[in-house]
């Protein structure tokens, strides 16, 4: 007969490592990213992220396939460089940002789970930083991934920018543009969810703000010819105005055919981002946890 015994496996005191507040921030960032991407969740939560990634990456894959199969002289300017690629992902990017950001903030408020977060080593500021990092991480998959994939595909097939320095320039521009888009869309996308605890309202509100601002700025500028400056009100346009400058291009089309001044574009983009972040921070700071 064996001497083996089953010992109690109930609650025991914990004497292992405790990793501190930084680990809490990382844990929340990873957890939120997983929720946004539908990881460890039922299949229905994976549909939107997968669809968005397919929309974003499919053109890049198709272009790489075209480069591989068709002689480059026949393709001519049909293949975009990474700076021109954003045209293909604009819709996916706006959709993803406005649907992913509510997933990051709204459920915590609706279920009051934010109270447990703020009773942990997180502070309100680190809570928001972790949430923003998770949203930005998800958005970067759309803003940086496909252009980099296209750039890599072109480079492997000896297409695209000439020489190592040309490649590195385009690579750094792509990374910078992807980061700028991620930061701006994250800041813009978090504002509405910070004002409500309903995901549907937040998503609809986000889409309305982006499309509404585009419509209003277009009417004022292109329709009523009140001046090119009104185009800066278009929140869907502003980030892409900035990325065209990063890729050394003059800017998006305007009614007067004169590009918007870079300084005005950069200043407006910075102001909008800071304002959006400030509103979101203010809302999180004011969130009632216990009373």
């Amino acid at each position: 007969m064996s001497d083996a015994r089953i010992l109690g496996t109930g609650y025991r005191t914990y004497s292992g490592p405790r990793l501190g507040p930084r680990h809490a921030v990382w844990t929340l960032t990873r957890h939120t990213f997983e929720r946004i991407m539908g990881l460890r969740r039922p299949a229905r939560y994976k549909v939107l992220p997968i669809l968005t990634l397919v929309i974003a990456y499919l053109p890049a894959v198709a272009f790489i396939g075209a480069i591989a199969l068709v002689p480059s002289r026949r393709l001519g300017s049909f293949i975009p460089d990474p700076g021109q690629y954003y045209t293909f992902v604009t819709a996916a990017l706006m959709l993803f940002a406005t649907l992913a950001a509510p997933e990051a903030l709204c459920p915590d408020k609706r279920s009051h789970f934010i109270g447990l977060y703020l009773a942990s080593p997180l502070t309100r500021t680190t809570y928001l930083a972790a949430k923003a990092a998770a949203v930005a991480g998800a958005v970067v998959l759309v803003t940086m991934g496909p252009p980099l994939l296209l750039l890599a595909g072109e480079a492997i097939q000896n297409e695209g920018p000439r020489g190592f320095s040309g490649f590195m320039t385009m690579f750094s521009q792509t990374v910078a543009a992807g980061a700028v888009l991620a930061v701006m869309f994250t800041a813009l996308a978090l504002v509405i969810p910070s004002l409500t605890d309903r995901r549907a309202f937040a998503s609809a509100g986000g889409v309305l703000v982006l499309i509404g601002s585009a419509a209003i700025s277009g009417i004022l500028s292109f329709g009523l010819r009140l001046g090119d400056g009104w185009l800066l009100l278009g929140l869907q346009r502003l980030p892409f105005e900035l990325t065209t400058r990063i890729f050394d291009r003059t800017g998006l089309p305007t009614p007067s055919r004169t590009p918007l001044p870079t300084l005005e574009v950069a200043a407006t983009a910075a102001a909008v981002t800071v304002l959006a972040a400030a509103i979101t921070w203010w809302r999180v700071v004011r969130a009632t946890v216990t009373r």
Binding site: T13, R18, S111, Y117, A119, S120, T290
Partner: protein
Amino acid sequence: MRADAVVKRWGTTPVLAGASFTVGRGVTGLLGANGAGKTTVLGLLLGLHRPDAGTVRVLGGDPWSSGPDVRARIGYAPEYDALPPDVAAADVVRHIAELHGLPRREATGRASDTLWEVGLGEERFRPVGTMSTGQRQRVKLAQAIVHDPDLVLLDEPTNGLDPAQREGMLELIRHVGHELGMDVILSSHLLEEVERVSDAVVILDGGVVVAGGALAELRTSGDELIVEVDGGAEQSERLVDELAATGIAAHTIGPGRLVVTIAEPTMLDVVRDTLAAAGMGVRRLQARTASLEEIYLEAAERGRAPR
């Protein structure tokens, strides 16, 4: 844990008006009527609010200025429903353990162990939203203790529970405070449940602490003695008279029972001698203890009395 002359206002409404108290080891009940400021006290202990005046020290630190470090050693179960309904209980508890600094592997193991400990071992992979109120309260308790904190704050943990569930929850709280070695602050407006599991109480009324300390000490008035003798009302009235003759005040509280006021310890000897001289059979001779309800009502009354 110590609070000194803490003042906290919400807008122009004062919630705490100079509350001072100390909390020691074991289970401490934080008592007060609804709106007495119990939840505000818990928020101050967690460093979620800054006191308008006074100081709060928790586990050797100031929870407002050292919030993350202090909160890493505290477990908290709020009064309200605070769990995401679409997430499995094990995932919620593991997530909270990780937030409090446990590595993922340890957090996963401890989440499972803790849910077994609170009686939800078989249910741990069910989404919280599909659980009963009693089960959700147990998940809240599990997430509060999963990281083996030094201090556990429980805000009205029996809210919404039926009598059987309440019984089970109180047993768990007693287990956490007395057998798992964590100090517990149990906020409640239900005197009976606090009395059953607590070693000490802090009673809040009108924004101040009107009574506080070890429950055993509070319950013993110290200056009153219950005497129960054979012979019913006739004998107890005779004893009242004989004690009065020696200068000791007493009054009957039932047939054969009386309460004797002991102004100084030597009076105990006088009572003994009087009983012996009268030849009465003594059934009971005991310091009078008050119920928590009596303590609470008396303290609240004292607190409201004009000063």
